[in-house]
């Protein structure tokens, strides 16, 4: 169960090698979290993440989970929920793709969409139903500032996050009043292994900062969290910039 400050005792991470997810897990383990499920494609990185979190004092399990294989989600995630209540699900998987390459290779572009959007839709729905049956729990979904407006430089990734973002908002409304809580997290540019080597955007942030914002959002039972918080205002302004101008902005 969560405590008075919204801190979960058990955590399921979809995308168990995500830097943001692991920073969040570290933060929550320092408070109340004692059980962590790391779901992801089997890899040494996933096992290492489990060993690392175990070292911090959490009982940690890994499960084999492939975002693209939507058919399998019900069975795989169902097993986790059958073991006991999950107080928080962090949906953290996603791929950035390679815009230039993906524009040339439609199949590769579709894989970005399948991972970030379709895979999220099916797994989030499975989790949402389980949380609702429990009568409690948070589903925290990592969206992106890129979901807010299409940008020339990454619209394939951005459109997949836009789909996820809209889906999550609707899911939050659907679950309102059921005891389950849905929280949408929109980070800006986060310095992680996923973005290593990319040119940094202004207002770049860190996985630790996202983790801090998630913890605060849980305490407040927020519906949307921007990281950094100032992005909310920046994006409110950018949303109204005419396309002809927006196209040319160095974003």
């Amino acid at each position: 169960m969560k405590d008075a400050f919204g801190t979960p005792q058990s955590l399921l991470i979809l995308g168990g090698t995500s830097d943001i997810a692991l920073a969040t897990a570290r933060r929550l383990i320092a408070r109340r979290t004692r059980t962590v499920w790391l779901a992801g494609r089997p890899s040494p990185a996933l096992e290492n993440a489990a060993v690392h979190l175990r070292g911090l004092g959490a009982e940690t399990h890994t499960i084999s989970f492939d975002a693209i294989d939507s058919e399998s989600h019900e069975a795989i995630l169902g097993k986790v929920f059958a073991e006991g209540d999950i107080d928080m699900v962090l949906l953290a998987f996603g791929v950035l793709g390679d815009q230039a390459n993906d524009e040339r290779d439609p199949a590769a572009a579709a894989r970005v969409a399948q991972t970030n959007y379709t895979g999220a839709v099916s797994s989030a729905l499975v989790c949402a139903r389980a949380l609702q049956a429990q009568g409690h729990g948070s589903l925290v979904v990592l969206s992106s500032v890129a979901a807010e407006r299409a940008r020339r430089s990454n619209f394939i990734y951005g459109s997949s996050k836009a789909g996820l973002d809209t889906f999550t908002q609707g899911l939050g409304d659907a679950l309102h009043g059921t005891g389950a809580h849905v929280m949408l997290v929109r980070p800006g540019f986060v310095r992680t292994s996923m973005t290593a080597g990319l040119p940094e955007s202004p207002l770049a942030t860190t996985p630790e900062a996202v983790a801090t914002a998630i913890e605060l959002g849980l305490r407040r039972r927020s519906e949307t969290v921007w990281v950094p918080g100032s992005l909310r205002l920046v994006m409110a302004a950018l949303r109204h910039v005419p396309r002809a101008v927006f196209r040319r902005l160095p974003l």
Partner: protein, 480 residues
């Protein structure tokens, strides 16, 4: 499907198993959803227990437990306030047999005119008899009278098998149920021993203590002369006045106290007027009611400045010493009941109440904790300090002989969780404990340290309720 269920979510109705509704405790933290069922008869209650399904059920009274004791995420919550009959009053012997859903407020209304009072009352009348037994509540008379369940002569318990058992003191089932937070079953009725009173007035002495040491000395030296004794302590005062407090102590006023002219040595405000008033109907039970707190309050309204100003006012308002003032029962015991829904003033994140006890001989720990709270500048309004007498037989009953301190803190205060974890450490090291009826955040690892009879409690539950029918969010969170 989530969408369908969500569309059907609001407005739970009587015995409608598919609707859920969000439930919280008085502190309004950590809401979870459950099917709310309001039985009107014992048979309906038994049927609800038999049908409560995989996520079990828990009884709920008036929801005055601060944390998650009367919540059961995804399962059933049995609202017991529909079972609220007073069955029999023995006006000569001083006992009452009533349903567990009766509130202490109702009992006072019925019993005071007959010259009887409830044996133990908490800081609010809005609790049920069932809730009072399940939390084995204490009042400001604990040092004289012990906790509520000590005055229970017998109770009827609906157990996991759907049977109703009569449970009497001195048995393991009684001691597991008193303070057992509803986890042994649903209390349906109770027979309670009452306290005779001549009037519905309190004769009250008030004095101020300069600092914590002064307060402890005064309480230790004179507590035994008073049936009721409590200190309001200003935890925002710092430096030399750390722990300054207002002591209020009293006794039920005898009839002759209403006739007695006001002693010249006191400065009782409105004393003469209230005495005349009182004499005309000495056993009348009157309460006052202020407008309710608004439904929406912005976060951070109750910051340090507000709390400091209020505490300062409260301390200054009290006289250095005043004796024999007449006060209404509602003023003396239940000041907050005058403002309906006052819990809303803490805003959306809600608030936590931190209440702990440390044994006599551990005054150093108490000083350290008070020092840490003062230094941390928690915006706390009127914390309460009192002395407990002998411990109670309930396995999970909270009181043990020592000092207990209770304070409210807004849950939105940054870093509060870690801070309170630190205080728990001090409490546990001083062989003390925190109160489960108030808890919403204890580290589960500390539970067995604080409650050494937990293994017996768990064993009895396993035997009595092998399928785990009775379960609450509190039980899940702490592994009760």
């Amino acid at each position: 499907m989530p969408a369908d269920a969500a569309a059907a979510a609001p407005a739970p109705s009587h015995l409608s198993p598919d609707r859920t509704t969000p439930v919280t405790g008085w502190g309004r933290t950590a809401p979870t959803a459950a099917r709310l069922i309001r039985p009107r008869t014992y048979e309906e209650a038994a049927a609800a227990v038999r049908a409560c399904g995989a996520r079990g059920g828990i009884a709920r009274g008036l929801g005055r437990a601060y944390g998650d004791a009367a919540q059961n995420a995804g399962g059933a919550v049995l609202d017991m306030t529909g079972l609220d009959r007073v069955h029999a009053i023995d006006a000569d012997g001083g006992t009452v047999l009533c349903d567990a859903g009766v509130s202490l407020h109702r009992l006072m209304e019925v019993l005071l005119p007959l010259g009887w009072f409830v044996p133990v009352t908490p800081g609010t009348r809005q609790v049920t008899v069932g809730g009072a037994i399940a939390a084995d509540i204490h009042g400001t008379n604990h040092h004289v009278s012990g906790s509520f369940a000590r005055h229970v002569l017998s109770l009827e318990l609906l157990t996991a098998d759907g049977e109703i058992r009569t449970v009497v003191p001195g048995t393991p089932l009684f001691d597991a149920t008193a303070g057992g937070m509803g986890l042994t079953g649903v209390i349906l009725t109770a027979t309670v021993r009452l306290l005779p009173v001549e009037t519905s007035w309190m004769s009250v002495d008030t004095e101020r203590a300069r600092d914590l040491d002064d307060l402890l000395t005064r309480l230790t030296a004179t507590d035994r002369y008073y049936r009721y004794s409590v200190a309001w302590i200003d935890l925002l005062a710092r430096g030399a006045s750390t722990g300054r407090a207002v002591l209020t102590r009293g006794e039920h006023a005898p009839l002759e106290a209403l006739e007695r002219p006001k002693p010249s040595s006191t400065r009782a405000r409105g004393g003469r007027f209230s005495r005349r008033d009182a004499l005309s109907s000495p056993l009348e039970f009157r309460t006052s009611r202020l407008p309710a707190a608004p439904a929406f309050v912005p976060e951070g309204l109750l910051g340090r400045t507000t709390a400091s100003l209020f505490n300062e006012f409260w301390y200054r308002r009290a006289p250095d010493a005043r004796a024999d003032e007449l006060q209404r029962i509602s003023t003396f015991f239940h000041l907050l009941d005058g403002v309906p829904h006052w819990n809303r003033i803490y805003g959306r994140s809600g608030f936590v109440q931190y209440q702990f006890v440390v044994g006599y001989g551990h005054e150093e720990a108490l000083r350290r904790i008070v020092g840490r709270i003062s230094a941390r500048r928690c915006p706390s309004f009127l914390a309460v300090l009192k002395r407990f007498g002998e411990g109670d037989p309930g396995w999970l009953s909270f009181p043990l002989p020592g000092w207990t301190l209770a304070l409210d803190i807004p849950a939105s205060l940054p870093g509060l969780g870690a801070f309170l974890d630190g205080l728990d450490g001090e409490v546990a090291a001083a062989a003390g404990r925190v109160y489960l009826a108030k808890d919403a955040r204890l580290r589960p690892e500390l539970l067995a340290v604080m409650y050494p009879r937990l293994p017996e409690f768990r064993a009895l539950r396993r035997e009595l309720d092998p399928r785990g029918v009775f379960v609450s969010d509190l039980a899940r969170r702490l592994g009760l």
